[in-house]
Subunit: 329 residues, 2 copies
């Protein structure tokens, strides 16, 4: 760690971040680097996501939750690959609003999720910015050699599943912004999902070897499945009515005059951090068994077909999504 942060870079590192350091590889954050021994028989999986105040989190979001979201969006990328997370590098671009109490809260959020997900801080940088705060994480995980799940293995005839529920990310953003008229406990549950999504790390490692392709749902279910379709050279047919919804999302949907349009909003909304995957029909039973074992909802939402792109159906009828770029064939 080395850079300019007049508001207390060294104090931040020594007091707040050093206690989070990996015991073996982070050199107590006293060095500029982390040194990681190779692990025979394993591949290293790396991902890097950044979040910006006012874009990916709200200016009044508590910084402990921002820290947790930062780790979780990166853990979600590893989960989709079947990788076991173990550590991360962190860049904090502190804005003037990030005083000592805010930094303490940020570190407390990191600590909570380090404990929850079994990761530790390996190194990084802390700098000051006059602009909005932003943060980035490079998350590292291990996967047995050659077993990282690709996006390119989906084939016509494979089934398409998604974990958890879809739409709570988008609804949660509306809830956090105070733009949702639902009962307070539903609003709170949705905002919580937006601020602290739950990456499917355990499921991702448990089903290793089963998915033919997988992706975490960050840009939106349709957009992320389109990445899979493109990388695999296939089409994906999605049944809108099969979209798994939370109780809060159901309550919201029930109050819409156009349920189809409402569902379209949810499947293109993003920030869900579920895993969408394709699986060979012969492996569906094993996949469901693992989900059951982890008490995780798992829903068949469509299938892989010949062609290209994502085609959406609603009650059997083809649908053209309003959002640019996503149309049925």
């Amino acid at each position: 760690m080395a850079a300019l942060d007049a508001a207390g870079e060294f104090e931040t590192i020594r007091t707040l971040l050093a206690p989070l350091a990996h015991p073996d590889y982070a050199r107590d954050l006293l060095d500029d680097v982390a040194v990681l021994p190779s692990r025979a028989g394993f591949d290293l999986v790396l991902t890097k996501d950044a979040i910006v105040e006012g874009v990916h989190f709200l200016p009044d979001d508590p910084l402990d939750q921002v820290a947790q979201k930062l780790l979780r969006v990166n853990l979600s990328d590893l989960a989709a690959k079947g990788a076991e997370p173990f550590g991360y590098l962190l860049a904090c671009h502190w804005s003037p609003r990030c005083g000592w109490p805010e930094r303490e809260a940020f570190a407390a959020g990191l600590k909570a999720d380090q404990d929850a997900f079994g990761v530790a801080l390996l190194g990084g940088d802390t700098v000051a910015t006059p602009g909005p705060a932003s943060f980035s994480v490079t998350m590292l995980g291990w996967v047995p050699k050659g077993q990282a799940v690709a996006r390119s293995g989906a084939k016509a005839g494979h089934a398409v599943y998604v974990t958890g529920t879809i739409g709570d990310g988008w609804l949660g953003l509306q809830a956090a912004r105070g733009r949702l008229s639902l009962e307070p406990e539903r609003v709170a549950a949705l905002a919580e999902h937006y601020r602290r999504p739950v990456p499917r790390v355990d499921f991702g490692t448990a089903i290793r070897g089963l998915p033919t392709a997988a992706v975490d749902v960050s840009d939106g279910l349709v957009a992320d499945l389109a990445h899979v379709a493109g990388a695999s050279g296939v089409g994906i047919a999605l049944d809108l009515e099969a979209t798994p919804l939370s109780a809060a999302a159901h309550a919201w949907l029930d109050a819409r005059t156009d349920p189809q349009a409402a569902l379209e909003t949810l499947v293109t909304g993003g920030d869900d951090y579920e895993i969408a995957l394709s699986v060979h029909p012969l492996d569906e039973a094993r996949l469901k068994k693992e989900a059951d074992r982890l008490h995780l909802r798992l829903t068949r939402i469509g299938e892989v077909v010949a062609g290209k792109g994502v085609s959406v159906r609603y009650l059997g009828q083809p649908v053209t999504l309003g959002r640019t770029g996503w149309t049925h064939d």
Copy 2:
């Protein structure tokens, strides 16, 4: 790569960044992750540095040079460890001023330094920010197992050396800001050093096994040596008059009324990206031979002593540095 960048995230990745991707491990940037096979007999060295517009680079700095500085400050960290760089993950926090031509320039700068230093893009994220632009890189390199140079091996009696020249980073910042009255070619040379420092990668790998401790000079020679002293549990005695200066720095120094104060400014200024190191007296000859072979200036600037912290002498007399935190014993 996945995030919100309305100004063209996917186009930026596809057109500008995908051509920079590592041919084996980056999955053409079509995936959220990079997958890296373990390398038997080697340790992976990781470092992460961030730079912010208005803090680490100037708002009118050309973005190709900003990209190069970003890679070089990270390469400098690897150089001090004796690591051989091979790839990096990148987070771009684009501000509104980063239109397409600016992004093209940024990518061109990355390309130039990928070729110069033998690294390739492994993955990352590109997001939009309303604030000043900022960027971070996680740089990866290999070092033979157990041979990463530590900061903690300096012992009393070891000699202290530094590569290149000291002070051009600080003078270069003044030059880039138009605050330096020297001949135009000197101003240009100093500004160039500030914008595109030269990381000592070749020297770092060539001398592997020789330094007992090493650090790259980013915070300032005295501050960085203080890190070494602290980690090693020793003191370091520095001879101010031995500080290696460029011709431009000499010209600047000659115009000062108080040369001692001027030297103090240069040794606390930072942004030099040279390697400062300690070495056992028996290894000094081999160290110098490697520097000669690479036509790299290498200067003995002091020695490791019992005690703690960095003590500074000028013409044999103890000096108390004006900057808080750095005083003689």
